[in-house]
Amino acid sequence: MVRHQRSWPIHLALLIVCLVMLVPFYWVLKTSISGENIFSYPPNIIPRAPHPFYYVDVWYAIPFARYFLNSVVVSVLTIVANVVLNAMAGYSLTQSFPGKRVVLMLFLSCMMIPFQATIIPAYLITGKLGLLDSYLGLALPMFSTIICIFVFKASFDAVPRSLIDAARVDGLSEGRIIWKVMMPLAKSAVATNVILSFIWSWNNFMWPLIATRSQDMQTLPLGLARFISYQEDTTGALYAFCIMVLAPGILLFLLAQKEFVQGLTTGATKG
């Protein structure tokens, strides 16, 4: 009874928030299928005479398939590397060892350097590694991300010590402890890593711009950027492009969201 009286304001509040979160999507989607005369007021709330031709335009405006493929490859590389490296780093941070604070501070301070300021050295380094204009070169700078390391650390921290000690008593090696005891309890962290690292690599814009030379190494964000530049007159097409670029990310998220969102609640918890 009590809950029933209480729950409707919660729902109301949440519904409003959701509305705020969703309206922009709708607005763009609407524009992408109906276009918009930028200079007629008022705008139509409901798409008038919707048609898919803006998407057709986008498809032929750039080698979409190719860019798409590139983005996918880079993202996959990044995701794999992130899950592995971050798990390792995250685990080490749960241990107490001399110099831990330094490492933590170091990691954190790494986030305080805007990428735009590192373009030139990053480019030179990648060049020294001979990775320019290659998938690996595109992905490498994002192979490990601080946030995700902390996410792993947090969920490892939440693994009850007793469990680990028990495993030690059973004589499991550290590696096995991580793999058999901790990882299963850190599913949520893995999901988070997959999604976040995908997002970052998928959305990365400045680095591919600098690190790629040949046309067929370009990634989707570059396509979008080029699109803004002169195709911008075809309003509808621009937003169609937005949708086409965003779709994969959203799709992946919606697919994994159960593991992701539920993992966060039922995942590694309860000290």
Partner: protein, 416 residues
Amino acid sequence: MDRRKLLKTGLAAAGTLATPAYLRAQSNKKLSILTWNIADQEALFKEEFEEFKKANPGVEIEWLDKKGPDLPAFYQTQLVAGTAPDVIDIQGALWVEWAANGALLDLTPYFQNDPAFVKMFNPDYMSSFVYDRKNYLVPFYVAKTLLYYNKTMFKEAGLSAPPKSFDELLAFSQAMAKGEKTGFLTLNFDWLYWPLMKMNSIELLTPDYKKPAFNTTAAAELLDRLAKSTASGAINKIAWTGRWVEPNGAFASGTVGMMQAHSASYFFVKGQGRWINPDTLGAAQAPGDWSTPTNHGFGVSKSSKNPELAFALVKHMTSVKWATRLAQIRRVLTANIEADKAGLDSVKADDPLAYAVLQTQLEHTDKMTGNWPLANDAQIKEAFWPEFQNAVLGRKDGKTALADAERAVMRVLRRS
């Protein structure tokens, strides 16, 4: 175990992906060319390159294209890495800075060896690519500002001809402004608004380019007048806030009386505005025939391994044959006199209005302003424009704005 296997395979896979395409294609007879956001002409370029390769066997050409805002970042990174493209297509005044920095090759000797080649081009456009008596670029395609006017709105306001003076320009704008309708617009990037200053004989710098010359009472008054007209809606404020899409779009919507923009705008506007035809749209010179160019030119990087070949490619791409093709397909002028004739003829037939627009680009090429051979043009632009913006948008009065601008510009000049 399986964990390790997984990792191994992962790394192996990554390794195979890690061979850069263009490093594999390394060869000493290799040219790379960087164009400025003209990827839409891929087909044409491919043809040009094929022909060039036939003429010069064993040459490979790598074609790169970046969009305007990104090109500087890309090119400069390449400079630092020592892998700058041999040939580069540059717009606006960027080239001066790079020329001054020693990034670009001085083409003067090549020009001297080949007077016939130089003669092909419009001397005025050619001379806009000279920095301290040296030629650095060859015109690729060119444009300068003109005054578009909406004949329908002119009729409504009882106006017959486009304005002949700055005062008329403001008066006409005022006459046409009511409600949604505004009188005048200008593009504002790359000094494109400078003709407005020039009409009132205001100079940016002293002739020796050593000191600012714009901080005068006349200039202050001008800014205040512009601010007033903007506030009253005679001048659409998009003129001071928009870059490319907004102003052109506004004019295309048919609610703006006049727009000062370069010829490229015509095709944009035509694409958006159904109303446009020779009876509704007029193209004229701005008062005093002043205009600001935004030209594209081909330069050769000093770091180029084989500059002769690079220059040969430039000559090839700007030759009458290919310049003509470009002019016809892209509906632009190339400053290549013959090519432009041919291009104009082909346009004349199926788009008389485009013809009229392009025609203006060949007239009064001696009255071009707003392009100073300054090694720090970008910095001066950055120092001047925001203050100008403050003034015309009514955040500061002209006098203060100009004073601040002068201080900022002084700083830049002092540094160099």
